[in-house]
Structures are given as structure tokens and as C-alpha cells.
């Protein structure tokens, strides 16, 4: 059902945790549907210098959260906003069809965190939907 890459990220998730003085926080999902993830980002010179996550959810929810932190770390905010759900799934070697929309929320959480950062900076208009 899951690729080796998904299981590897599930077993050894990268960047688990919270950033107490985060510059941006994004939460998506809902425990009712079985997936809830929060992404914390630290921004310096327009770059994502640190990123951590907390996730309630199934194997693919945890693996996609871990993967997005790897993909996003060190990237500029603009590059971070360009990472899509499909990129995350591709990097994991694919996800089961049923998981594609319910448990592949990590990109949305990252975008929400960046949006939160912009809002805090008073630059809400810069986020392109």
C-alpha cells in the first residue's frame, strides 16, 4: 500500500516538533476527518531557515509532513509557496489514490505558515493564491 520512501519517513520523520518563537504557524485539516497538521517556520533573509511539524494522522499524513519539511528547508518563501501537494507525493514515490486528498495536506500547511508569516509582517497581499 505504501512505498518504501513513505515508510522510511513514517519510521524516521524529519523535523518533528514545535518552534516556540516561530515566525509563522500554519494548521490545516481536522481531527474529525482523521488528519491534522501544524507547520512552524523560522524565516531569515526571506529564507525558511528552520521548519518543524506536529501531525495527528495516518502513515501518509506523517510521511508527507516530514517530506515537506525536507523540501522546504533552506528555500526562499517564494520557492516554498511553489511546492505543491503533487511535489510532495512524487518525492515520496507516490501515495495510494485514497490518500491523495485526505492525507496530503502538508503543502497546504506550509503555505498557511508562510501566509501567517506575511500577515505578521503586514505583507498579506504578497501571497498569490
Amino acid at each position: 500500500m505504501y512505498t518504501e520512501k513513505v515508510m522510511e519517513h513514517f519510521k524516521n520523520p524529519r523535523n518533528v516538533g514545535e518552534i516556540p518563537d516561530a515566525d509563522g504557524v500554519g494548521t490545516v485539516g481536522n481531527p474529525v476527518c482523521g488528519d491534522l497538521m501544524t507547520i512552524y517556520i523560522k524565516v531569515k533573509d526571506n529564507r525558511l531557515v528552520d521548519i518543524k511539524f506536529k501531525t495527528f494522522g495516518c502513515g501518509s499524513a506523517i510521511a508527507t509532513s516530514s517530506m515537506i519539511t525536507e523540501l522546504a528547508k533552506g528555500k526562499t518563501l517564494e520557492e516554498g509557496l511553489k511546492i505543491t501537494r503533487a511535489n510532495v507525493a512524487d518525492e515520496l514515490g507516490g501515495l495510494p489514490a485514497i490518500k491523495m486528498h485526505c492525507s496530503n495536506l502538508a503543502a497546504d500547511a506550509l503555505h498557511a505558515a508562510i501566509e501567517d508569516y506575511y500577515k505578521k509582517q503586514g505583507k498579506g497581499g504578497e501571497v498569490k493564491k
Binding site: M1, M7, F10, G34, G57, G59, S60
Partner: protein
Amino acid sequence: MLLSENTLSAARRVYLDLAAGRPVEPLAIEAMLPYLKSSCGNPSSLHDFGQQAKRAVEEARSKIAALINAEKKESILFTSGATESNNLAIKGVANRNKDRGPRILTSSVEHMSVVNPCKFLTTKGFETIFLPVDKYGFLNLDSLQKELTEKTVLVSVVYANSEIGTIEPIKEISKIVHSKNAYLHVDATAACGHVPIDVKTEGIDLLTISSNDLYGPKGVGALYVKEGVRLEPLFHGGGQEKGLRSGTENVAGIVGFGKAAEIAKAEMQTEIVRLTKLRDRFIDGLLKPIPYSFLNGHPTTRLPDNVSVRYSFIEGESMLLSLDLKGVYASSGSACAAKTLEPSHVLLAIGLKHEEAHGSLMFTLGRHSTEEDVDYAASLMPDIVKRLRDMSPLTPKELKT
């Protein structure tokens, strides 16, 4: 499927998902073999090959009748399994006895092979009411009484729940149902062969039995139909099984089913004692060391082989995968492991919130399960739960490490 590849390196393999699939009893396999090889006759043939097959089928029928104390072996119809038996009972009774009225009553904790035929019939002029259950999964008898009208043709209730193990008060239900002359169908898929069932003293009109659930081969089942209950067949053809289930009999499967039923009957009392002890030891091992952990279903009025628990703040599939990596195979009440996105309707019906239902794990113990097996499985849970809780945004601060 990578789930199994991952476990090749696991130190031990403990299969605790017997409700999903059971090994076939070796003596049943042995009994089946001749009917897969030289004894290839069709029970409908008049010659010796045919009659030999017919005798084997009838012998199996007697064994299954004996298991549930049916009045006679002819009350047993062979089917392809529990799904067909449930469909035959529900659609068969409703369609054949339409004149009684359009109402069908069932509980809100039924298997999908009861839920969906009952829903389907609402497109054919019937009305189905799903009756509530309490927090243990017991049918609400007051609402049964209230909804049971003279126009009720059928009531379908599970004998014991495969997900949460709770055993329904069938005798009491039967008294109520028969007070209005409706028919009572009981889905005994998870119960038959594991706890004593007596269709006569319990007042059951139709009873679904699954072969694999009592260690017989998959692809076979039976429906007990009390004498005098009129049914419309699902299949029309050569008129086998008194015209109620056309199609050449699955002789080898039926023979294996019969042998497995005979063994289940002989071993039932000792297995109930052994498994109940094992079950309670396992439940203690799963719950005691971990805060915010709970049992689903009733603690004592439950199947001896069913263990269903839940852990707050984490999700079932993650636990399932974590156990799989350590060589323990279970099942989850979570949507994510199944084909739908909703958590189990059974867990929601007993009043759990969605996130609680998502945190459920189910195990079934089997004939081969040992104390070492359940102790090993339970010993893995504290680390698994701690790791997932540390990762979860729902975990309260005092539980974090």
C-alpha cells in the same frame, strides 16, 4: 504490498487479525481434499459419483445444524458466505413477505452486508429504520418496541459485533419481535462457533453463519431458515438448496465447513474459558500502562476473542503500521486504513467522537494465540503510543516527553 515486506525482518510474527481472515483447520483441509481430487461428482447426479458428493454435503449440513441446535438439517442452506446469507435473508424475506408491510428494523451497529441490503430495499418501497444502541453497543430495546409495528416484516440484528465484541440480548429481542409476528434475522458471522447459539431456545428465524469465521474455508457460508419462513431466492437456476440457492454446490468447501463446525462445537467450551482469560489479560496489558486508553464494547458480555481499544490523541492507522513493523498484525477503526474516509459507523454509533473512533485498534485472538503473543503485542504499545503522541498536536502538555 509493502506492509508484508517490512515485516520479513521482524523478530516475531503475531497474527491478531483473525476476524479479517482465519487459517483453515488442518482436519477440515484433509476432509476437503478428496472432493477437490477424485470425488468430483455433482450432488444432483443420480450415479454413484453424484450420490457420494450428495452424502458429503448432507453430512456437513447435519454438522452445521447441530452447531446451532437447528430442528433439522434441512433448515440449513449453503451459500457463498456471510454476505450472501445476509442478502438472502434480508431481501429474501422482505420481497417474499411484502404483504406484511414495508418496515424493516435493524441496529446501527450492523455489518455492511446487512446495512446495504437494508438501504437498498428503501429504493424498492421498503422503509428501513436503524435503531440506536447504548455506549456498549447493546440494542436499545425501548426503541425496538416503539418502532416495531404490525407493518414490520423483518428485524435484523447482529448476534455479536465483530468490531467491538458486544453480544446482543437475542432472546429478549426475539420476544419483542415475535410479539408483533415479525421475522427475526440474526447475523452470527462473528459469533457462530465461538459462543453457544441455540436457534430454538433463542427464538431465531434466520441465522447467518460464515465458514471462515469458524476456521473453515473462505467462500462458503450458510443461512439457517426456520421451517415455515418464506423466502424469495436471490439466484434463479437449477433449483438447488430447495430452490432457494441455485448453483452447483461447492462440495469441497461445504465439507470443510462441516468439519470445521464439528471441531468448533467440540472445542467451544474449553476455548471460551481459555480465550476469555487470554482476552482479559491482553486488555489489561494494553490499557493499564497507558493513560487515556479505553476499551470499546462491553467488558464481559463480549466475544471471548475480541479486543477493541482506543488511545486518545493519535490515529489508528499509524498504530497499525507501527505494530506491523514489529510483526504484530491488527486492524483499525480508522477511515484511513479502509476504503472510505469516515471512521467505522459502529464506533460512531456507540457515541465516540470522530477523533476517538480514529484512535481505535482491534485485535481478534485465535485458536493458536498464546500468552506470549498477547504479552508481546501489549509490550509494544507504550513506545508506539508515546512516539505518536509526541508527534501529535492534540496531545495535552502533561503527556508530552
